[in-house]
Point group: C2
Chain length 330, copies 2
Amino acid sequence: MSELRQNLISRDWVIIATERAKRPEEFVKHTRPAPLPDFSEKCPFCPGHEDKTPPETFRIGDKRSWQVRVVYNKFAALTPEGERVRKINGIYRSMTGVGIHEVIIEHPRHNALTGLMTEPEVTNIIRAYKDRYLSAQKDKRIESITIFKNHGVSAGTSLEHTHSQLIATPIVPPQVRSRTEQAVNYFDDTGECIFCHTLKGELEAKERIILETEHFAAFIPYAALSPFHIWIFPRRHMSSFVEINEAEIKDFAINLKATLAKLYYGLDNPDFNYSVRSIPVDEKGSDYFHWYISLIPRVSQTAGFELGSGMFVNVALPEASAKFLREVKV
Amino acid sequence: MSELRQNLISRDWVIIATERAKRPEEFVKHTRPAPLPDFSEKCPFCPGHEDKTPPETFRIGDKRSWQVRVVYNKFAALTPEGERVRKINGIYRSMTGVGIHEVIIEHPRHNALTGLMTEPEVTNIIRAYKDRYLSAQKDKRIESITIFKNHGVSAGTSLEHTHSQLIATPIVPPQVRSRTEQAVNYFDDTGECIFCHTLKGELEAKERIILETEHFAAFIPYAALSPFHIWIFPRRHMSSFVEINEAEIKDFAINLKATLAKLYYGLDNPDFNYSVRSIPVDEKGSDYFHWYISLIPRVSQTAGFELGSGMFVNVALPEASAKFLREVKV
């Protein structure tokens, strides 16, 4: 019989379809796309093409010999200029599309992959995340900041040169709001951060842990929504990503790189998305929320049931997925 | 500048990316998969292979000359036997995977498409939906019922023979719960069903309407989450799908068939999902909820921002999408 599991943090229910569960090996792709070149003449993110991008907002390295560059998104979903104006016309509610949309170019090499970079290189990416997060939260119009990465066509990438993005919105997305509400309720009931409590439980249970480093732990959530859905939590309680310190940045780079390398070697370079989930800007310093990374390899397809109910069917057992990734050597 | 729009029913915010919006014509696929045969020797849903499926629960027509058949799902996410038992072990909450998972085989012909069937054929599919919904809601363990359809590989279909599915769950999915909570709040504030109010507004505004029939209206929501995201609402207030009467079933078939035909001819047979969103079983007859169909053509890709924030970026203007589909002749 299948098992329904509830994610206490999101309150989502997932059906762990044990009857038709696949073995971890069955998710290996076995078809790799053609390898990318080191450099592409047409790529606006490759070195020497710096004048092909919108203005730079941050850089590590020299103007012509950089390691990380951050630029405005040429096809920005939100625009930096303008007032935050809300219009309410009966049931029609709208707001001006002001906000920040930046692209973090993670590496000069066209075909670089985060999981295969050196640790100092990944550290520089995280430093760029922090700088841009700090900068965005100074803007009084901004309520919430999402940093994310799309890797591969099925994960929604349109440019193949390795990059992440930051979108800072003038509203708190309802999913962020409901997560924080759940966390407040749990804190009010127990006096404890639900994320700290979850992490403690997972570190004791061990069976869903993928990788522990000094300041971070990567694991498969008990009620993972899809196969190899991964959470990376900082051990120290921090509600906002921006509170990460230099020692933690370095360790986060080690953990993120190794976790992505495990996906690369274990599942044959799957497409994936990750996002940094952080508290709304104006609530930072809270005792009840805890930032984390949610990482979703695109190894299965959501369908009508998920779209219609908001429930998920996961055809992989979280404990088996975790064991598989734990054992991948990197 | 982009515009943020809020869906009053779900409270979701979407970024309507007008700056990088595509014209409706840009979503046309232009690559059709190889046509399917009328009959497939390997297909368990084709006539003559009735012994290849799990037991039948409903049929329209004769045993060997049927129009619609409903069978248990061979790879059921939930199983019909067993008790609903909830286990709570600290943060780990689970439940036995009891429930109902059926497959509605919509037509004997292997390559039939709902949008191209006759109206009486589609009427029979809706009759089957109602029969199975009625049957599932008699089970005391069932809290919520989702009927859905996956069309095409990118929409999660594993079998190509045209079919829909019904999953009846022993819990109310949190997304269904939050939708009903929003509706209750609106009803308490205004004394009105938020769905009736939305439909009235759309019928007056006209610009997002795709198709009006006697008892139903198909339209693009003001805050559509993705290009060509469609809602079909019954005009009469009904909280549960099971309240649909025979005249409405016939008209719903006309509306659904024509809307799907508009997608077929207008966008070149896109993959899609639809689901029937209905009130939880034990709350039927309520004044505040209103069942409807949510239909999502798979013409764009969700990525890290959507997964991380729960907000969507829609690169199509709802009014332009509606005009485009309104004008497709079927």
